[in-house]
Symmetry: C2
Subunit: 146 residues, 2 copies
DNA sequence: ACGAGGTAGTTAAACCGTTAACCATCTCGG
DNA sequence: CCGAGATGGTTAACGGTTTAACTACCTCGT
């Protein structure tokens, strides 16, 4: 029976939604404009940079639907950044791995992406604010996992 | 020439992107499933709950493109939640205002939405964590405004 | 060893958002 | 007072995401 947030909670919540939305939008736009990559595509490339993965491992790691991963990888394959190959020991499975071009594009995109992250996040907070933010967001992320 | 983030910054940044993404996704899904509203539609309704607004004021307040607002409002008008009317003193302008049904739907959606926000955010943080999160996200939001 | 049910992945359609082009109206300097 | 440019708003085409249905393959109990 106490439905509403108090004013301070309101302000925090609004800052959170608006900040989260705009941050993701800016990062996505920067990757598109500067490197022709969606944030979703970029995240897939990052996961693949540690080695080849099954489609569904990929889907779990980035928490996207399998359908979405299929189509994101389709685009990456068309762009010659990722290679698909059938998995030997499970004939349903499909490996995805970076191509050389994929690794090269990711390397330059990643360097630039980090600069943007600094600009938008790291540089506007002092270090303990950043850690506090990180631990709060980790709790929220985990609370949305179930 | 120090391109990378240190491990702690990395963790904070990953918690931030992942948490932000999943939080927005969950809130959007909850509104859709429980009330047939997109988060974008919901935010428009919230702005209109204080009184009628011009399309472009609406666009500024929710920071969406005018085109997007036009189409979001289209859907809301089709659903009979919002009413459009030509603005008397500027014949280019268009007022948007809640219908009675719009106000009713917003009222019940808002109550329920707040419960979800508590579940996902307020209840998983202690109060000073929440204020710290809020002020950090406010800085990030403002840093993405330019 | 076989069939039921689970898992891996893809496909097609509908939906939402972005982009760019567009028309109508307003504003303001010359 | 008039025409250039700015502003308000819509439209259409396109791109990415979700959803649901579908195929192929694997697993495990019987």
């Amino acid at each position: 029976m106490t439905p509403w947030l108090d004013p301070a909670q309101q302000r925090s919540w609004r800052a959170l939604v608006e900040g989260a939305g705009q941050l993701l939008a800016r990062v996505d736009r920067h990757l598109r404009d500067a490197h022709g990559l969606t944030l979703a595509e970029y995240e897939i490339l990052v996961r693949l940079s540690e080695g080849h993965l099954h489609m569904s491992e990929l889907a779990d790691q980035v928490s996207h639907s399998r359908a979405r991963v299929t189509q994101t990888v389709d685009r990456l394959v068309r762009a010659d950044l990722v290679r698909r190959s059938p998995c030997p020991e499970d004939r349903r499975g499909v490996h995805a791995a970076l191509t050389d071009r994929g690794r090269a594009v990711l390397d330059t995109a990643a360097r630039d992406h980090v600069l943007e992250v600094r600009r938008l996040v790291i540089d506007v907070l002092d270090p303990d604010e950043l850690t506090a933010l990180g631990s709060a967001m980790a709790k929220i992320r985990d609370a949305t996992q179930d």
